[in-house]
Amino acid sequence: MALEYYLVLSALLFTTGVIGVLIRRNAIIIFMCIELMLNAANLAFVAISRSLGEATGQVFVFFVMTVAAAEVAIGLAIIVSVFKHRQTINVDEVNSLKG
């Protein structure tokens, strides 16, 4: 299959992620959308790596997955603790930094 298909899919996935982050109010959903963006990037890495016949891109993917795992652990912990304090995870209601 040609490289373009993978890249188009990757772009579609990334855009979905961005729009999700922008329009949804539930912190968990936003979080899942971020994961979507990361994986869209992973897909692009793998596709280009394969097309160039080089392993570097795939190594990057492992790094991204590791970081994503760590990020999930911390992010979920933050969301749990926000919920404990405010009984909500709606990001519009968490606005203490309003100037």
């Binding site: 961005v18 982050v21 922008l22 109010r25 990001v91 519009d92 309003k98 100037g99």
Partner: protein, 629 residues
């Protein structure tokens, strides 16, 4: 004579100051120790001074050496250096000799005072500063000492700082001196601009050189010497800046004796004698002499009607300083310094005896409440009598010799100055013996309660009195016998330019005239006050004018103090400070607050708003790179 000796001489009082100043808290338990440390420090200096004096007297050459470089720049260098010649040696002996006796006296006088160690710390610091003033070999060091003694004077006048009048007097002295010091500073600048250095030796040599006048003109030196004299007017309490000295009597009495009679106030006379070469070339001595003689007369007339014994002595000091300026002004430098020496002894003595009277009288100073103290305090009475006879010019006592020399030289310069000086001599004898008759003779008018513990002072106080009385009586005879051929003139001859103003006329005639005038003053005082007490109410317009000291304080207050105060309050404080300066500062703050208020709206607190701006930013950057580069 070596530089180490000079350093020890100079540093000993500084060490005393540091011990008493830094560790005073621990010394508080043992008052005596603290006082003796102070006195011992000055004793070390005294011993060194005697060695210095002996070596100069033995024919050693004047000593001039640099200890180290203090401030250096591309085109100038100021050194810490010492110049020791006959003039310095005389000053050293006066400062450390009188200073030591006054330290010892203070041990008794200040007994039981709250600030005992603080007192001795200040007193030692004063001696240190005064020694810098006379030892320095350049005007800058002299100025450092000049300011140092001014500071100590301020601290000691306001020593009892919980007394309003004392702190006021301290401030008055400090501000008056500041005016004078400003003149001194400008004088130094003028000299530096003309000579490029402040070293005595270099300046005097250059000023005497022929080409100096061609390059700079005589007016430079006239301006410089007059500005330096303004400094002397402030420090030595001459017209028009004399008003601080009578008020300075708020300080402890030994301070009045040491600082405001014997040493600090004579710094101006020393400065002019040191700069004699410049005054000779500039011919500004006449100004000095006239200011001096007018001050002498003016202050003596005020002293006639005062009833506070320390104030009489203060006005007397102002008056005698005037004599010294007449001496150095008419070119009789040695005579001026000679009077400085004799005056340091007899006036120091009289202040200390006044302190002894105060000590016995529970700090009473009004002589109308004394009388008949002679029998209760014989030593005090006799020593005071010696001092008063000396100042009145009683034949063969100290003041007779020194004052007569000055008057004699003044005659050669201007008979008018001589005439005013002679009248002043009469007034001096009169007011001093008025003080004596009212205080020590006649009926006792002492409160019965005070009278019950009226007593002679303890030995630690009367022994210094007795020791001081000896030089007060004899030093004039020892040093001054022979008039212009005396030992003192020979000793100081190398320092001063040739006194070509030497007076004409027979010395004996002048001596007889002076003695008669002095004795007449004493007799007149005896006639008027041996049985009578000064009246409480002024008896006429002139009397009222004198009692109120010519209203000089009031005039200064109206013409200078009030306008400055009002100007400060309304213009400087309310308009400039509150309006302009605070306005700028507050205006800047208000502007920043306003801009901040606008920028604040960007912080919505909505995470997604931030993300949108981030995404938009990224999209814009990408678009830019993709389509425009």
């Amino acid at each position: 004579m070596s530089i180490e000796l000079i350093v020890v001489l100079l540093v000993a009082p500084l060490v005393g100051f540091l011990i008493n100043g830094l560790f005073g808290k621990w010394l508080k338990g043992s008052e005596k120790l603290s006082g003796w440390i102070g006195a011992l420090a000055v004793l070390v200096s005294l011993v060194c001074s005697i060695i210095v004096f002996a070596s100069l007297h033995g024919g050693a050459a004047p000593f001039d050496e640099t200890l180290y470089e203090w401030i250096t720049g591309e085109s100038f260098a100021f050194n810490i250096g010492f110049h020791v010649d006959a003039l310095t040696a005389v000053m050293l002996l006066v400062i450390t000799g009188v200073g030591f006796l006054i330290h010892v006296y203070s041990i008794g006088y200040m007994h039981g005072d709250e600030g005992y160690t603080r007192y001795f710390a200040y007193l030692n610091l004063f001696v240190f500063a005064m020694l810098i003033l006379v030892l320095g070999n350049n005007y800058l060091m002299m100025f450092v000492g000049w300011e140092g003694v001014g500071l100590c004077s301020y601290l000691l006048i306001g020593f009892w700082y919980d007394k309003q009048s004392a702190t006021d007097a301290g401030k008055k002295a400090f501000i008056m001196n500041r005016i004078g010091d400003f003149g001194f500073l400008l004088g130094m600048f003028t000299l530096f601009a003309a000579f490029g250095t402040l070293d005595f030796g270099t300046i005097f040599d250059a000023a005497e050189a022929d080409n100096f006048q061609k390059v700079f003109g005589a007016s430079t030196l006239v301006i410089a010497t007059l500005l330096l004299f303004v400094g002397a007017i402030g420090k030595s309490a001459q017209i028009p800046l004399y008003v601080w000295l009578p008020d300075a009597m708020e300080g402890p009495t030994p301070v009045s004796a040491l600082i405001h009679a014997a040493t600090m106030v004579t710094a101006g006379v020393y400065m002019i004698a040191r700069s004699a070469v410049l005054y000779e070339i500039a011919h500004t001595g006449q100004v000095v002499a006239w200011i001096g003689v007018l001050t002498a007369f003016f202050a003596a007339t005020i002293a006639l009607t005062q009833n506070d014994i320390k104030r009489i002595l203060a006005y007397s000091t102002v008056s005698q300083l005037g004599y010294m300026f007449v001496g150095v002004g008419v070119g009789a430098y040695a005579s001026g310094i000679f009077h400085l020496v004799t005056h340091a002894f007899f006036k120091g003595l009289m202040f200390l005896t006044a302190g002894s009277v105060m000590h016995a009288m529970a700090n009473e100073l009004d002589m109308r409440k004394m009388g008949g103290l002679k029998s209760k305090m014989p030593i005090t009475h006799w020593t005071f009598l010696v001092g008063a006879l000396a100042i009145a010019g009683f034949p063969f006592l100290s003041g007779f010799w020194s004052k007569d020399e000055i008057l004699h030289s003044a005659w050669g310069s201007s008979p008018i100055i001589y005439g005013i000086g002679l009248v002043t001599a009469f007034l001096t004898a009169f007011y001093m013996f008025r003080l004596i008759f009212v205080t020590f003779y006649g009926e006792s008018r002492v409160d019965s309660e005070v009278a019950s513990h009226l007593h002679e002072s303890p030995p630690v106080m009367w022994v210094p009195l007795a020791i001081l009385a000896i030089p007060s009586a004899l030093i004039g005879l020892l040093l001054g016998w022979g008039g212009h051929d005396s030992w003192f003139h020979h000793f100081t001859k190398s320092v001063f330019p040739d006194a070509h103003h030497d007076a004409s006329g027979n010395v004996i005639v002048f001596m007889v005239i002076s003695s008669v005038v002095g004795l007449a003053g004493i007799a007149f005082a005896w006639r008027r006050y041996s049985k009578r007490v000064p009246s409480d109410e002024p008896t006429g317009a002139l009397h009222r004018l004198l009692t109120n000291k010519y209203y000089v304080d009031e005039v200064y207050n109206t013409l200078i103090v009030q306008p400055v105060k009002n100007g400060s309050q309304f213009l400087l404080w309310k308009l400039v400070d509150n309006g302009i300066i605070d306005g700028i500062v507050n205006g800047v703050a208000a502007l920043i607050r306003f801009v901040g208020g606008l920028l604040r709206r960007l912080q919505t607190g909505l995470v997604q708003a931030y993300i949108i701006s981030m995404v938009l930013g990224i999209v814009l950057f990408l678009a830019y790179y993709l389509f425009f580069t």
